[in-house]
Amino acid sequence: MKPKSEDELAQMIAGANGPLRIKGGGTRPIGRCEGTEISTANLSGISLYEPGALTVVAGAGTPISEVEKALAAENQRLAFEPMDHRPLFGTKGAPTLGGMAAANVSGPRRISVGACRDFMLGVRMVDGAGNIIKNGGRVMKNVTGYDLVKLMTGSYGTLGVLTEISLKVLPNVECTGTVRLHGLSDRQAIESLSSALGSPFEATAAAHFPKGPSGDPVTMLRIEGFESSVKYRADKLQDLLKAYGEAEISIGDGSEWAAVRDVSSFADQVGDVWRISAKPSDAPEIVSRMDAKAVQYDWGGGLIWALADEGRDLRSALGDFDGHATLIRGKADVPTFQPEIPALAAITAGLRQKFDPRGILNPGIMS
């Protein structure tokens, strides 16, 4: 089904007599669910873009590339740099705003400017009973009523089908600097990233590869802004991190960070892909517990990407920790999302019951 309007979508959902599988661009097949496909492809297009107000409003089916193109023309961008899952999944098609929001897709800059959820200003949606609901709006500061925008972001379509999204955007930067350290152990690397992120020099990304392109460990920090400022801060970081070796500085367009964002090094490798959010200083120890085939640290250690043997329950190897693990790609017979503690699971179940009483929207995708 491909509704042409929000009203038509509402009728389709109200009239549905079985599970529906909601489709944006179809590039992020995270989680499992069955159902009649319902596509947001026709709910597409930018309806408002005010560069001076740093806001853009568009249909949920709008390709991200279309939005990014419009923003680039005004020297602006989606600052949370949504990851492109296509390399990892080998999927085709165009990622949409709706899919991005439904999966709260962010990138390395999450550590400095926030996640997709932090840039979501407003939504329009249709819930599981076919009600059209709006929340938030198109202004940056808005505390009018409950923040259902955050609740919808990252709900994988299970509480409602997004039809329109307003986003905060930010100015593009003139220049990007990358500071690299070589040969650090995981523990040293995370320590070095923590000390950079705890400095006034505003790194906008902090990643570590235990096995970089040449097979040796590479630790990376990103600095963005006006060229003189980037050079100044890169020098300061080099100085700050002296104890970890002589840092190498490169100034350019920052294109090397796309590979970090998209976890490209796992793209063509066989295995299940896990995404683990953790307290950064816990990360090396967590990684030591999981015996993964390959690992990438992002967010200064707060995000661990792990490539594990197919079908393995990596979560059971992790045990208890401050954070959560999601099976992004793979066939392991385990819940895709971290099981919640009972009190929280009860709230989640209650919310699902309210927003989708018949349980027809992407049923089971978040289990």
Partner: protein
Amino acid sequence: MEMPTPDAYVLSRKDQIVARLAEVLPRDAVISDERETRAYECDALTAYKCPPLCAVLPANTKEVAAVLRVCHEMGVPVVPRGSGTSLAGGALPTADCVILGVAKMNDVIETNYDDRYIKVQTGRTNLSVTGAVETNGFFYAPDPSSQLACAIAGNIAMNSGGAHCLKYGVTTNNLMGVTMVLMDGTVVEIGGAHLDAGGLDILGVICGSEGQLGVVTEATLRILHKPEGARPVLMGYDSSEVAGQVVTDIIKAGILPVAIEFMDRPCIEATEAFAKAGYPMCEALLIVEVEGSKDEIDAQLKLIMEIAASHNPVELREAKDAEEAGRIWLGRKSAFGAMGQINDYMCLDGTIPVSSLPFVLKRIGEMSKEFGLDVGNVFHAGDGNMHPLILFDANKPGDLELCEDFGAEILKLCVEVGGCLTGEHGVGIEKRDLMNVQYDPADLEAQMAVKDVFDPAWLLNAAKVFPLDTSRARRAA
């Protein structure tokens, strides 16, 4: 402002309720004497007052859970209270309620500079969170004007902002985790020292829920290292249109100042009379602040000054030292006090798209004449969050009502141009009955359904946020 009729059955059982609470709390933590409960009769929206049935001051999560279990069992409404600085009446009691104050809960539980967070009890004041980490060079970014007094509990309830949120975001963008007690006494841990939710973003909906979903007792907050320096510039213009254009041009030039503050002539005049900050007399004054190293600040200010100069400013002043920076901020920071010197005032909080600024200011000026009440505008221009201050005389019969009507018209205008009723103060009782202007019944139904899940009996702060007619059936059930 209409409030629900107090539950006579609850009122009649005051002694039993107080006795049960006294069983689960230390002796000095239950306040039931009528002279003492008066201290809790209002928050910073002082036009409305109502002493509660009693007030309790638990010292930790366990005691909060015990209080809520008792109230839940006995069917007693609860109104949570941070420091009582809400301008929206978020902590206004009903006569049949227990005020649950978090003031005793002000400990720092953990600071972690490597992972850049602090965990505190939520009765701690906003400024003292920064106070706990500033010797290490860190700060907690959201900075509401009331930061000296306001509690983190209230900041989370209202999703408070501040002058510097253009760069750092508001409370929800800096809140990593909470310990929350549900109305039935269940304790839930949500989030923590990691980023983003593992399932639904429950934390996202708790922040800004105005104490209606649970009582947040502990919070994990993101802390940041202070920038190397910050410097403001002041610019004055002959019209708000031009000032609005300057704001747009700065943002479009790719500069993201940490703050862009705006004051109009009535506000400048009042402030000058009060604080003598040396502001120019003009139609619109902007304070723009940037951060970074000295060179970075110089580079950003050079661009900003070029833009500012190209719009024929009546004054353009760059702070050369800390003293001058302090003077530039002095007037802005004393604006509310200055207006208060002239008369009683009501402070509004609508947000508008920045592009509508000149139109909205013009309309407010016209409405000021129609209503016969003066109004000064001071606001966060970078994000469109306005704070019109309407002057009225509380001792003059009918003036408060006239002021409220005027305020309602301004907020309707904010919604009309694509904005919202409240940018950072919250709905409380103040904007409760205007919610229908911004939201359709289905929109409000979806929000109320969330409360149904957390607090099925609608005992927690239930007379707020939703128009009484809209929430009546749920509150009566």
